[in-house]
């Protein structure tokens, strides 16, 4: 149990790398739609029928036919990513036309909620209130290769967790490479001062749309992975508090810093899983086991407020855009051959 808990932390980091790009862009907002749309993608990821017999038969198939199992999973992931991208594009159109900046956040937040409502009410997607159940991990079949024993059920989960972590790392790498490039520079400039960026020839609205799509794709991936891990796709798992948690991870770990995001994700996921576990353990002592969850959300809110008040940049600071240009200069000290900077404030 402890091991699988540990490995779960990886998944949490994953959806967020898209968000860091958003932060590079300063679109606090992008995170909103991404996290809220996870259910949609999760639903896409499965695309199977809902009744119980189907559930059981899926499990049997999964056990017996490894190839199919994995193949379906991969297809689901790809579909989810594509769906994510498409939704990102669609939402970006009205969203970016708004006059005031914060409109964007609100529109995206409510779009997310709107999707959640649509999914809950439309039995064709997502099986209504109960969600789709019985989605087996793609490596379920592995357990039949192992001798029975206490470890057996853990194996497929363990393997899957490793895969998730690997994918998360892959996203991390991609995000880092994008961030440390001229595009990263571009993103930061758009974030810092849109008008100035435009006067320097950058097509701001195009950049914002791109970022929204990239983020949505990553979120889609995350949603699909999550669903396969948990085994159930229920729209109640994707409430705005999820979006909020993601934000806290970002700001806590370090604004516009991918590594910082890892740190933040780790801490918050610890908090998340810790609260769930202690909730279960302490069940007998508390009137309502959900109390721990409530407490956790409150704690997250307080953390965010404290951060905003005292240390907006988070734990790790924002770094330079590290492109090859850095090899030319010594950023630790001053280059010997350059002339000293002119001080514009010299008194006559």
């Amino acid at each position: 149990m402890g091991i699988s808990l540990n490995l779960e932390y990886g998944y949490a980091g994953q959806p967020n790398f898209g968000q860091v790009l958003f932060f590079g862009l300063g679109a606090v907002v992008g995170a909103t739609v991404a996290a809220d749309l996870l259910p949609m993608f999760a639903g896409m990821a499965v695309g199977n029928i809902c009744d119980v017999s189907a559930e059981l038969s899926r499990q049997i198939i999964a056990l017996a036919y490894p190839a199919i199992s994995v193949a379906v999973w991969v297809i689901a992931l790809l579909l989810a990513m594509v769906a994510g991208g498409i939704v990102g594009v669609v939402v970006s159109y009205p969203a970016l036309r708004v006059k005031q900046e914060w409109f964007l956040s609100m529109i995206l937040l409510v779009s997310g909620e709107a999707f959640r409502i649509i999914v809950t009410n439309t039995p064709q997607i997502g099986c209504g209130f109960n969600g789709i159940a019985g989605i087996t991990t793609p490596f379920y079949w592995l357990s039949s290769y192992f001798p029975s024993g206490p470890l057996q059920p853990q194996v497929p989960t363990g393997v899957y967790s490793v895969i998730i972590v690997a994918l998360a790392l892959a996203c991390f790498v991609v995000a880092q490479r994008i961030g440390n490039s001229p595009y990263g520079r571009l993103l930061k400039s758009v974030r810092d001062d849109k008008t100035a960026a435009e006067s320097l020839g950058k097509d701001v609205s195009r950049v914002r749309k791109q970022i929204m799509v990239i983020g949505s794709i990553m979120a889609g991936l995350a949603g699909a992975l999550y669903v396969y891990y948990i085994g159930i796709a229920s729209s109640d798992d994707f409430i705005p508090a999820v979006t909020f948690s993601v934000w806290v991870m970002m700001i806590l770990g370090g604004y516009a810093n991918n590594r910082g995001l890892l740190v933040g994700a780790f801490i918050i996921t610890l908090l998340d899983r810790g609260s769930l576990v202690s909730g279960i353990l302490l069940e007998s002592y508390l009137p309502n086991p959900n109390l721990i969850i409530y407490g956790r959300y409150m704690v997250e809110a307080v953390i965010l407020l404290l951060l905003l008040l005292f240390r907006q940049k988070g734990i790790l600071p924002e770094t330079r855009v590290k492109t090859k240009a850095y090899t030319l200069f010594d950023f630790g000290g001053v280059r010997a051959s350059s002339t000293p900077a002119r001080d514009g404030e010299r008194k006559p």
Binding site: V110, M298, L308
Partner: protein
């Protein structure tokens, strides 16, 4: 065929009135300190719960629960202002940060209510207020609460307008809304006026909430579930206009109830989709008229004044543009 219509319209009016009262508070914070306060919806929840608690001690007393809700939420508003918003605003942070902070505050309040409610056994509670009928219009029952809500909305709207245009405090608030630095230099006691603004905003939110709570089961997510609607109202209103908010409140109220009924009856659209209607409204408004319906009450009033002046004294010269 249309028997459901009068009842539906009545409920629309009720909902609309609630929206008006609550959204006026939000418009206030938007106009005066330019803060889109996502925590505003939580005032609704807190107000409703205050109603639950107070009405169990003083059943059937609308006045007391109204006053209690107003006071409790006004106090809450002051607290969140001083703890969260003021320190941030003093540092002139960007609006993104303020929005994020207001989400955090909202989350904190919401789950705080969850916690309290689960201890008090009130996770799903009702207020102890007797709803009785005071008459019939078009074959529908007009209840005391419906009437109260509608009257309240109109009264508050009028009172606020009077407040803003005839009292010094109100004018100071408008000054701050227009140009905060200028207001400061002109001798307006900005911190105090902002405090009062928060009292009003929170109080209105709570008041709307408690009346809303009379008819519904009160849960900790009561406020949050109306967040979308409230924002729809202010967007339709153009964010900072009072008359717009009033119109917007009723538009949203009607779309939620009557339009929904219509869709349900004739197109078999399930009620689960109800929350989407304000969302659709927002999209429509943004695409067609991004500035909302009444972006400039100032010129509207001026035009009316000029028209009246001309009517009574035809020899009056039109004054030139003053902006």
């Amino acid at each position: 065929m249309l028997e459901w219509l009068p009842g539906s319209i009545l409920v629309s009016l009720f909902n609309g009135s609630i929206y008006v009262v609550v959204s006026l508070g939000l418009t206030l914070t938007l106009a005066v300190i330019k803060l889109p306060n996502f925590a505003h919806a939580e005032f609704l929840t807190v107000g409703a719960y205050t109603g639950v608690v107070v009405s169990s001690i003083y059943p059937n007393n609308l006045l007391i629960i109204g006053v209690a809700a107003f006071l409790v939420c006004a106090g809450l508003a002051l607290v969140i202002h001083h703890v969260a918003f003021k320190p941030l605003m003093d540092r002139r942070v960007s609006i993104y940060i303020l929005v994020l902070a207001s989400f955090a505050v909202a989350q904190f309040i919401r789950y705080g209510v969850f916690t309290w409610a689960s201890f008090a056994g009130l996770l799903s509670a009702t207020q102890n207020i007797r709803i009785y009928s005071i008459g019939e219009i078009f074959d529908t029952r007009l209840t005391n609460v419906y009437a109260l809500a509608i009257v309240l909305a109109i009264a508050i709207a009028l009172l606020l307008q009077a407040f803003f245009y005839f009292t010094i405090l109100g004018k100071s608030m408008r000054a701050i809304a227009s140009n905060i630095d200028l207001a400061r230099i002109s001798g307006v006691n900005v911190p105090r006026v902002i405090d009062i603004m928060w009292i009003l905003a929170g109080g209105l939110g709570g008041l709307g909430g408690v009346v809303f709570g009379i008819y519904t089961t009160v849960t900790p997510v009561l406020g949050f579930s109306t967040l979308l609607d409230i924002f729809a109202v202010v967007i339709i209103a153009g964010l900072t206009s009072f008359t717009g908010t009033i119109i917007g409140g009723y538009i949203v109220g009607f779309s939620q109830v009557t339009l929904m009924d219509f869709l349900n009856h004739y197109f078999n659209v399930s009620f689960g989709y109800q929350p989407l209607l304000p969302f659709a409204l927002i999209i429509v408004i943004l695409l067609l008229k991004p500035n909302g319906l009444a972006p400039n009450t100032q010129t509207g009033l001026q035009r009316i004044r000029r028209l009246l002046a001309r009517g009574s004294n035809p020899s009056n010269q039109m004054r030139g543009p003053q902006e």
